[in-house]
Amino acid sequence: MPFIPHTKADVASMLAVVGAADIDELFDEIPANLRARDSGDGDAAGLTEMETLRRMAERARADETGPCFLGAGAYDHHIPSAVWDIAGRGEFMTAYTPYQAEASQGTLQLVYEFQTMMSELTGMDVCNASVYDGGSGLAESILMAVRAGERRRTGGRAGSRPRAGGSRRVVLAGAVNPLYAAAARNIVGQQGIEISQLPHGENGLADPGLLKDLAEPPAAVVVQQPNFFGLLEDVDAVTDQARECGALTIGCVNPLTLGLLKAPADWGEGGADIACGDGQPLGIPMASGGPSFGFICTRQSLVRQLPGRIVGRTRDLDGKPGFTLTLQAREQHIRRAKATSNICTNQGLLVTAATIYLSLLGPEGLRNVASACHARTRALVAALDLPRRFDSPYFHECVLRLDRPAQPVVEALAARGILGGLALGPYFSDLADCLLVCATEKRTARDIRQFSDSLDDAVRKAA
């Protein structure tokens, strides 16, 4: 009986206290026809830990590849060993959501520090303690923006949730991660909120001019920096233009690049209103895309629209500072049908890892890692010697053009142990011959040479 400590003697004495003849009797309120209908198939004992590890390790091993040049929202960064040595401690890993503040000061203080670090990176006033991932982060940001618009029109009656009033439409300006966009659409679509895509220009960038031409002002404009193609958007212009039409700006950002790039709060004249993204680059393994965490930062004025946990600093009975979950009145367990979001369990452990990561890197470390990623990507682009698809400045990721469909090339590279980037055809039909490549600070000159040799080989083969 794995993980069950009961001895026969324990069971007997416990049943005696309860006054039941056997354990089965404890299930006597369950209609008999519902019970244990299939005890037939269910008698196999479990595997030992050793056997389980063997089975799973063999499968894991089968999936190991050589160097990874795939990015597109998940990045193969170095993770300092201390990050998971500490985040993996039982006291962080096996605690619940910190409802009992006095017994959870470790997690609470850490989240408060996290909120501070994310606020610093984005320049925003506040950050929540995570949503699920970059995709749900974008969705929740859009919901926030729509609610904020409604509040503005209805004079700010919080919680009144009028269906009329603000716009229920949001526009994506240019190349926003299509996987985020899809998730967001599926989520906000349930509330009848529409997400429309403003096409990117021939230079791969959002065209702020298109915002001017919108018939009706949207609730928000979403812009990603660097955008999905790795290009640096003119976020200042987009933000200013969004403000002009009365829309909020939602900046979708890779937090690691904020070591170098302008903070969303500093975009344009007034800054973005919401910054969201995925925290995976901050010390989180790619792990097939999850668990990672989404984050949402915003202005103080929008904090009551922010979904998810928020930790505040307060005092205890002795007047000593301490931390506690706060603004819970926004949340499902208090506000139920009127909550800002249904999120309950979030991605706390990943926030723990990211907080330790950011502490270890500091401002200089983060900047240098970002600069190293960019330098490696530049070296990669030079080594592969393929034409760039867009000629605006790129950062850390880049779209290259092949002279043939990219998907078979990616497959051929994989067979050679190289994850050679993302074939863009499935996402942008006009880019079927394009490859989105990326190199992190982990990629060596040798890795890049291996890619370029394999590419020659794969292209020859695929030809």
Partner: protein, 491 residues
């Protein structure tokens, strides 16, 4: 209460983590930040020591008994954590081609099958990233179903008044209107109220079974029939499945769609707030609408697949993949036999604890019912008689080195504790908890102020929630910088 920012000094760094700076001259000035972000500048030892120390300020399963009702705080096997941490999984890029992902896909497929077997549902999609997202998928699927049939007036979701907050919140997020259904004094749904509530606007009913009162809804088949007859569908909130794991299949009770909380029933660690995973399972009617991606087995190996009428993806990639792997490892270690024992021993522990607390003088909310892996104690009498609230009681328990049960949930029962010991705790631990409860009970009578001002032995005394919400302080600022106060000199 020193923060990492208090430890920082300009230009200090953990140099082994800082690569050389590379040129970024090709980047436009306008895209760059003028000032570096105000991240802490600390040494590696400072970071390690700070966060190691912080960890010591948490209660956790690994250090304390944690009978938090509805949360299923059972042992999180270290082996499952290790299984998911194999480099081949951790370093796998989510968009890696299927040809180099067969091991990972095999794991997901195996988990889909195990969850199908255990729920009785014909199809399971693993992508939702927590229970609430699983609920979202389920309600969205129900809506799609009605929409596909042109049955467009069904906009109401019924929930029992005992429902977990995510149920109504989810229904709202899906654009539905929530309608609460009363629960009878025996803890079961009031059948008459249900009958009155259903109608042509009923999209469906969301409920758990056992309910959040820790009671098995005895007339679940009747409930299902009423909803079905009214044209609605039934959503099973699987957060409480631990109670009947391997004993009862939700599909058999008449549910059309459900989610499971792998971070509860399948023992993946809760991480101080998450991550979790909330796979959704559906019977024939709703299976076509499941969110993608799912995994199918073909003659050429495993591949990603989208159900025909899928509601689409809910996450950028494949949900919380690492949690799914942990749950698979756990399921493999249990096997079908171990799975059945989970429900049995969770239930034995709950009933034993309930009986002992009752003997110790506590009021059990539903004394005539069997406890189903959790149960409710109400301290309304203590509040009346000693002026000690459930929250006071909870805080005092912390001084005894046990985590408090869930307080004030479900909302139905005043001054309540929802207590869930789980199957992985020993009789001795439960007995010690009874002793602690009994002591606090005595203190509540003899020295209520001691209880009201608890906790006394933790890093913080009782924290002021009201102040926290009133004077929002959500991030450190230099003004907070504390000079190290004199070290403790208690004697």
């Amino acid at each position: 209460m020193e923060t990492i920012f208090d430890l920082a000094r300009a230009e200090r760094r953990a140099s082994a983590q800082v690569p050389a700076r590379e040129s970024i001259e090709d980047l436009p000035e306008s895209a760059l930040r003028a000032e570096p972000p105000g991240l802490p500048e600390v040494s590696e030892l400072q970071a390690v020591r700070h966060y190691t120390r912080l960890s010591g300020n948490n209660f956790s399963i690994d250090t304390q008994f944690y009978p938090l009702g509805s949360c299923t705080m059972k042992y999180n096997p270290r082996g499952a954590h290790r299984a998911a941490s194999a480099p081949g999984f951790l370093d796998r890029h989510p968009l890696a081609p299927e040809s180099v992902s067969q091991g990972f896909l095999a794991c997901l497929h195996e988990l889909q099958q195990i969850l199908q077997r255990v729920t009785g549902m014909g199809s399971v999609s693993l992508t939702p990233m927590a229970g609430a997202q699983g609920e979202f998928a389920g309600v969205a699927m129900i809506r799609s179903y009605h929409a596909a049939r042109g049955d467009t007036g069904r906009n109401q979701v019924l929930v029992p008044s005992t429902a977990h907050g995510t149920n109504p919140a989810t229904a709202s997020m899906c654009g539905c209107v929530v309608r609460e259904v009363a629960v009878g004094s025996d803890g079961d749904v009031d059948i008459e109220a249900l009958k009155a509530a259903v109608g042509p606007e009923t999209a469906g009913l969301m409920t758990t079974n056992p309910s959040t009162c820790g009671l098995f809804e005895r007339r679940i088949e009747e409930v299902a029939a009423i909803v079905h007859e009214a044209g609605g569908l039934l959503y099973y909130d699987g957060a409480n499945l631990n109670a009947v794991l391997g004993k009862v299949k939700p599909a058999d009770m008449g549910f059309d769609v459900l989610h499971l909380n792998l971070h509860k029933t399948f023992a993946t660690p809760h991480g101080g707030g998450g991550p979790g995973a909330g796979p959704v399972g559906a019977g024939e009617v709703l299976a076509p609408y499941l969110p993608g991606p799912m995994v199918e087995k073909t003659v050429d190996g495993y591949r990603w697949m989208e159900p025909p009428e899928t509601m689409g993806r809910l996450s950028a990639f494949m949900g919380n993949a690492g949690i799914l792997l942990r749950a698979l490892a756990y399921a493999l270690m249990l096997g079908p036999e171990g799975m059945r024992r989970v429900g049995e021993f969770a239930t034995l522990n709950a009933n034993y604890l309930a009986t002992r607390l009752q003997h110790a003088g506590f009021d059990i909310a539903y004394p005539d019912r069997r406890a189903c892996h959790e149960f409710i104690v109400t301290l309304a009498r203590q509040k009346r008689e000693c002026g000690v609230t459930a929250m006071d009681f909870a805080k005092r328990l912390l001084d005894y080195g046990v985590h408090a049960p869930t307080t004030y949930f479900p909302l139905l029962v005043p001054e309540c504790f929802l207590i869930e010991p789980t199957e992985t705790e020993s009789k001795e631990t439960i007995d010690a908890f009874v002793e602690a409860m009994t002591s606090v009970l005595a203190e509540a009578a003899s020295n209520p102020e001691l209880v009201r001002s608890a906790p006394h032995t933790l890093p913080s005394k009782r924290l002021d929630d009201v102040e926290a919400a009133r004077r929002l302080d959500l991030r450190w600022r230099p003004a907070h910088a504390s000079h190290r106060s004199d070290p403790s000199t208690s004697g």
